[in-house]
């Protein structure tokens, strides 16, 4: 392996890993903020407990997003110095704004929220959470503006071989960014929906398993309580409401991702036709959407790819909104790319030993084809499961089946899988470019960069291997720790986030007010 490949693996691993935490932070943050708002407005105990319990899981996950996010701010300079030099003038602005306008708000107000229970007036405490959560949404917007500029560079001109921003409005309202941001936020909500539903399902199941809840002849729930009274009707209400909220959020976000994804695909057929052809393993021009293609997907020999099942006209619909327009296949696009951007890397010192090498304009088709389908498939599965769950929950509890409970918990992973697959698809599909060229008339011609030119010339292979191994190992260990901690807190139920519950009766309501003022309401 050479330095370029190691650097790419490192970027892929650190970014996909970071983006396991981020959607849960954004999605769950919004949901917890709504829960606390409901508590603020109604004063109902179950909303307080929901806020505390889900808020605790939110924090356990949030910090991992913060920690792994640090790497993002540095790694363009570490392993991709030529990229930073080429794009810094335009790419740095959204990153700096993200830090100054979003990260500061997020971290400062989250600190206020964590430690501010009982110290801040309730309205300010609630406002702190909203500030933090909305800032995390804002940060998503800034970073997607940066990423979308790599997919569809706008608002720049080329000066001395570097991209120079001339129109900030164009950069910050890039159509690619607007749809990608929408798609990403709905994707984040989908993660939160599945998370809520799976965990709440487990607790509803556990209540039945422990003999607290039973059902009458009609199958409707009869809510019971444990002897200590800490798992009574309020506890049941916490899980039932959480499960229903989760299912509804999952369904809404599925509709949102589908609608925004459709817009995104239409833009991408214009802006990065090769990526979409590779998503289809579409060798020929055509109109049909492949549900399953087998064979050597990466082959340019169309005989090697067999479309087992195709939906006629659907590809044209995805690309253009009709059923007849031919969408260009790989074999048509390849000569076009070669003519416009060259067959080999130029003899420029910036390419180092890679100068003069052949350029392969075809992304790794196995990855793009399956990434696209895994994204859609997992998304559809999760939405379907949410619909079924909502129907089952109409009787106020879940079946006693352990198998079904495991499925619900395991299903939490599906939206995570869809998010990762979508990002891997869109980033791998952009190759061999790090900044994709623009065939589209609204884009800027001539501003593009090959990934092969972006890597740091001064950094040795040994350094890259060291950091790849170190970061991957640390990330693996921390993932195990985080998941273990989440399991522990989930198993402990609401009491894991509200230790005071263990010492007092349920339904007796509202903590706070009479606590010793000298003791911190929350401490690390």
């Amino acid at each position: 392996m050479e330095a370029l490949e190691i650097a790419r693996w490192q970027f892929g691993i650190t970014t996909v890993y970071h983006f396991l935490m981020v959607p849960l932070t954004i999605g769950l943050g919004l949901v917890v903020a709504v829960m606390q708002t409901l508590w603020y407005r109604t004063g109902k105990e179950h909303y307080l407990r929901m806020t505390k319990f889900w808020g605790k899981l939110f924090l356990i996950n949030f910090i991992m997003g913060v920690a792994t996010g640090l790497v993002q701010e540095f790694q363009f300079g570490l392993a991709w110095s030529e990229y930073s030099r080429f794009v810094g003038d335009v790419f740095g602005a959204p990153l700096a704004m993200e830090a100054l306008l979003a990260f500061f708000v997020e971290s400062t107000f989250l600190g206020l929220w964590i430690f501010g229970w009982q110290r801040l007036p309730k309205i300010l405490h609630l406002g702190s959470l909203w500030a933090a959560v909305l800032a995390s949404v804002l940060s998503a917007y800034f970073i997607i503006v940066a990423n979308s500029w790599m997919q569809h560079p706008v608002g720049v001109e080329l000066v001395d071989g570097r991209a120079r921003m001339v129109d900030a409005w164009a950069v910050f309202t890039n159509n690619t960014a607007v749809v990608a941001f929408t798609h990403t936020v709905f994707g984040a909500l989908a993660v939160a929906g599945g998370f809520l539903l799976g965990i709440a399902w487990y607790h509803l199941w556990k209540r039945r398993h422990d003999g607290l809840d039973t059902v009458d002849d009609a199958g409707s729930v009869i809510v019971g309580s444990d002897p200590s009274g800490s798992r009574g009707s309020i506890d049941h209400s916490v899980w039932l409401r959480s499960a229903r909220i989760g299912a509804v959020v999952a369904l809404i976000s599925f509709a949102g991702t589908a609608a925004s994804g459709d817009l995104q695909a239409k833009l991408m057929f214009e802006q990065q036709p090769m990526k979409m052809a590779a998503a289809e393993a579409a060798c020929h021009d055509g109109t049909g959407f492949s549900v399953l293609s087998v064979g050597n997907l990466g082959s340019q020999n169309c005989d090697d790819i067999v479309a087992v099942f195709e939906v006629p006209g659907l590809l044209s619909f995805l690309a253009n909104g009709d059923f007849t327009t031919e969408v260009k296949g790989v074999n048509t696009l390849l000569p076009e790319y070669e003519e416009q951007y060259g067959k080999t890397l130029p003899n420029d010192p910036m390419y180092g030993e890679r100068a003069g090498m052949d350029i392969d304009y075809l992304p790794v088709m196995e990855v793009t084809y399956w990434g696209f389908r895994i994204m859609i498939g997992f998304g559809v599965m999760a939405a379907f499961a949410a619909l079924v769950a909502l129907w089952i929950l109409r009787k106020g509890t879940v079946p006693e089946s352990r198998w079904l409970m495991r499925l619900a918990v395991f299903g939490i992973l599906a939206p995570f899988g869809a998010n990762s697959a979508g990002w891997i698809f869109t980033e791998m599909g952009r190759q061999p470019f790090v900044v994709a060229p623009n065939p589209d008339p609204s884009g800027i011609d001539g501003v593009f960069m090959f990934t092969a030119a972006a890597v740091s010339p001064g950094v040795s292979l040994a350094e890259l291997v060291f950091s790849l191994v170190a970061l991957t190992l640390v990330y693996a260990v921390l993932l195990v720790v985080e998941v273990r901690l989440l399991f522990t807190y989930v198993r402990g139920g609401v009491a894991s986030a509200m230790p005071e519950l263990a010492h007092k009766h349920d339904d007796a309501n509202s903590p706070g007010g009479k606590d010793n003022d000298d003791v911190l309401a929350f401490a690390y």
Partner: protein
């Protein structure tokens, strides 16, 4: 005129680094003191909770300093980070462990769990402070860069006396700054112990920082940066006398002023160079040749003019909300999370 915007941004980056070391300085120091100074678990928790609500906000100063460098001086960002690849990766690993440890340490009631995270906090704080100190010293004293701004030499070619000096300067400053912070933020026996240790160590601990400033001043200084160096020495002395007189707030502020004056002397002396090449002065990165276009700098100036005062306002408010001193009595008992 064409140098005005880059100069403003160079100043702002220097201010961001100063803000970072002033704020995160004490939470990095508190992280190290949890191992070096606290004696019992309750004391360790007491220390941790003095910075609990604010450390994450403090850390964003680093992220913003790096992000602003990319936006305003892409060539500085690219050369500094890629040249100091290994130290920055270590800084990141340290910051990752430290952040997770802060949040996770109290999440289980288990001695082994706590001890492991305590080690992570100590090593993470130490590594980050040392690495950032080395990087800042080297960006003011120079690195072996070629004409493209890339490193000439192996992965450890940066490991020089200046790197060690910068690392020592920041680590030791963080330690005494954290002691001054504990004097200000805690009450009871631990506060008296912190003051005692601070009075004994402060005169030595600020020496590497002042030596770094003096070296840069001697190499590139001007009259006004010389005055800043004198001011730094004076502020450090004033801090010591204020602490001895029991004036916690003044002691803490004077120490912060010593840091600010030292960094102002350092960055002011190297200006207009942002990253010197030790191979050839022609390869130096300067505010002019490393900066973004006037358009980008203008846009970012508007954003900063709006954003920076806002950040100062609400971060200041946070410190006011959590102004109460923390004592051993204010730390609640650890609780266990038990499966249902």
């Amino acid at each position: 005129m064409s140098e005005l915007l880059p100069t403003i941004w160079f100043t702002l980056v220097a201010v961001l680094w100063t803000g970072y070391l002033f704020l995160e300085g004490f939470d990095l120091g508190v992280g190290m003191l949890m191992k070096l100074f606290a004696r019992t678990d309750r004391e360790r928790r007491l220390l941790l909770n003095t910075v609990g609500p604010v450390w994450d906000g403090n850390e964003v100063w680093l992220v913003t300093a790096i992000g602003a460098t990319l936006a305003a001086f892409p060539l500085w960002y690219a050369s500094l980070l890629s040249t100091l690849y290994v130290p920055f990766v270590l800084v990141l690993l340290g910051l990752i462990f430290r952040a997770v440890a802060f949040e996770y340490r109290g999440k289980m009631n288990n001695d082994q769990w706590r001890q492991r995270w305590d080690l992570a906090i100590f090593l993470g704080s130490f590594t980050s402070a040392a690495g950032i100190g080395a990087a800042l010293a080297l960006t003011t004293t120079g690195l072996p860069l070629n004409e493209n701004g890339d490193r000439v030499g192996g992965p450890f070619v940066w490991l020089t006396f200046d790197a060690l000096l910068g690392a020592a300067a920041v680590v030791l400053f963080c330690l005494v700054h954290a002691l001054a912070f504990l004097v200000l933020k805690t009450d009871g026996p631990i506060r008296e112990r912190a003051r005692g240790l601070l009075l004994r160590t402060l005169p030595v601990a600020v020496v590497p920082l002042l030596v770094w400033a003096a070296r840069v001043y001697i190499a590139d200084g001007t009259a006004w940066t010389g005055l800043l160096l004198l001011a730094a020495v004076g502020a450090a002395a004033a801090s010591w006398f204020a602490q001895r007189a029991g004036r916690d707030g003044w002691g803490f502020s004077w120490l912060g002023a010593a840091l600010a004056a030292s960094l102002a002397c350092i960055f002011g002396s190297v200006y207009p160079v942002v990253l010197p090449s030790t191979l050839d002065d022609a390869f130096n990165l300067t505010v002019e040749n490393a900066s973004s276009s006037p358009y980008t700098l203008g846009l970012m100036s508007i954003v900063a003019a709006f954003g920076v005062p806002l950040v100062l306002a609400y971060q200041g408010w946070t410190y006011w909300v959590f102004r109460k001193r923390v004592t051993e009595q204010s730390i609640p008992d650890a609780h266990s999370v038990v499966p249902l």
